[in-house]
């Protein structure tokens, strides 16, 4: 077979282009679904958390459990506990969180109008500002309502760290990627509760599945006054606080 240069180029061009397109089509066909657990259906769940301020004793068990479960680097927190102290009813609250509350709270105040603990974590907002600002699609809301970070795609640009109104994100110094509470996604997809809820001695924290009609959260939300943090931000936060004081920011 004789062939001039023009024919060769045309033929090889066709070959490369067609196999490329065919490969793309084939990949699309064989790719299938991406989920790991076969019995877990993401669309059957809508995860949230309820926190009972009146039950939190500031022991720091949740902070320790989270650090153990998720290898959170020292000095950074995916969940932490704040102590609010209000000296007079109309004074500004004093807030402290020594080492995130990991080692408990040594007595610091005498008397005063009121003091209480506020555990904090990612609010897993349904309309999350951190998701909106991510330039590469490395952070997202899953179909089951958990805000996650894709470590492999995160550039470490810190947009999300700035965007989070709750200060829940940080840059992992070893990986240089954004990190935050995953609501123990590796546990809840197995039917376990989160590490913080598991180790909370007073059940101040409760994992809740808003799509599960048998979840006691529905009864809880119906019979108690609950509040989310910074509702004016319209983030549709899913961490519900019972007994939250108006001074909490």
């Amino acid at each position: 077979m004789s062939m001039n240069r023009r024919e060769l180029l045309a033929q090889s061009g066709k070959f490369i282009l067609l196999t490329g397109a065919a490969a793309a089509a084939w990949d699309y066909i064989v790719e299938g679904r991406a989920e790991a657990a076969p019995t877990y259906k993401t669309t059957d769940h809508w995860w949230a958390m309820v926190i009972d301020i009146d039950k939190c004793i500031g022991c720091g068990n949740c902070v320790n459990a989270c650090a153990t479960e998720n290898n959170v680097p020292e000095g950074f927190f995916r969940t932490w506990v704040e102590r609010y102290h209000i000296e007079h009813w109309d004074s500004e609250p004093q807030v402290d969180s020594p080492n995130g509350g990991k080692d408990g709270f040594p007595e610091k105040y005498q008397g005063g109008a009121k003091s209480f603990f506020v555990p904090k974590l990612c609010n897993h907002c349904a309309d999350s500002p951190c998701v909106q600002v991510c330039p590469v699609g490395a952070t997202f809301v899953t179909p089951d309502g958990v805000v996650l970070v894709d470590e492999k795609y995160c550039l470490g640009c810190r947009y999300c760290v700035q965007a989070c109104p709750y200060g829940c994100r940080f840059i992992n110094p070893a990986k240089n990627t954004a990190e935050k509470c995953t609501l123990c996604y590796h546990r809840i997809t197995q039917g376990l509760t989160t590490a913080c809820c598991e180790s909370c001695p007073t059940s101040a924290r409760q994992l809740a599945d808003l799509k599960n009609p048998r979840d006691p959260v529905h009864e809880f939300l119906r019979t108690h006054s609950v509040q989310v943090l910074k509702p004016h931000m319209a983030t549709h936060a899913k961490v519900f606080y019972k007994g939250l004081d108006g001074s909490v920011r």
């Binding site: 004793i57 500031g58 068990n61 153990t68 479960e69 105040y109 003091s115 603990f117 996650l148 590796h186």
Partner: protein, 154 residues
């Protein structure tokens, strides 16, 4: 036939160039964009599976109860019914996987109990709190109390 297209040749060249560019774009996009991108949204769907596959450290109280039934029943009958085993004993999924590999140390009641029960103004008023120095004079709580069912006289 050739005559007919002669005046449009310059347009055909541009069109071909455009098609080549388009094909190049499609091919490059195929290799650059991860598979399944956009299946759930503007992100890589495989990330869900990767995050869900991370190992666990806390086995959960139900797992503990499978073997340590006596202690669990005692705990459930007492004041500490709501407290998870690993809240005091630490993360023990490795122990649940292979009990001989990781043998947990018994927690020291002198250090452990005060984490929750040391008096603090910020703690809820209905939570049982003591000033440990006055209460026991430094003796370990386990001297008098049984941690699994802590009420006195049991």
């Amino acid at each position: 036939m050739k005559e007919k297209w002669k005046d449009a040749e310059h347009l055909i060249r541009v069109a071909l160039l455009f098609i080549c560019g388009l094909v190049l774009f499609v091919v490059v996009r195929h290799f650059v964009v991860p598979a399944g991108f956009g299946q759930y949204g503007h992100y890589r769907p495989q990330a869900l599976g990767e995050i869900a596959a991370r190992p666990i450290s806390f086995a959960g109280r139900d797992t503990c109860a499978m073997c340590h039934d006596d202690e669990f029943k005692m705990k459930q009958a007492g004041k500490h019914a709501g407290v998870g085993c690993e809240a005091c004993h630490g993360a023990l999924a490795a122990h649940a996987d292979d009990p001989s590999k990781l043998v947990p140390k018994k927690p020291d009641t002198a250090v452990l109990c005060v984490r929750c029960h040391e008096a603090n103004t910020a703690k809820p008023k209905n939570f049982p709190q003591v000033n440990s120095k006055e209460h026991s004079g430094g003796a370990a709580c386990g001297t008098c109390h049984q941690p699994h069912s802590p009420a006195m006289g049991k």
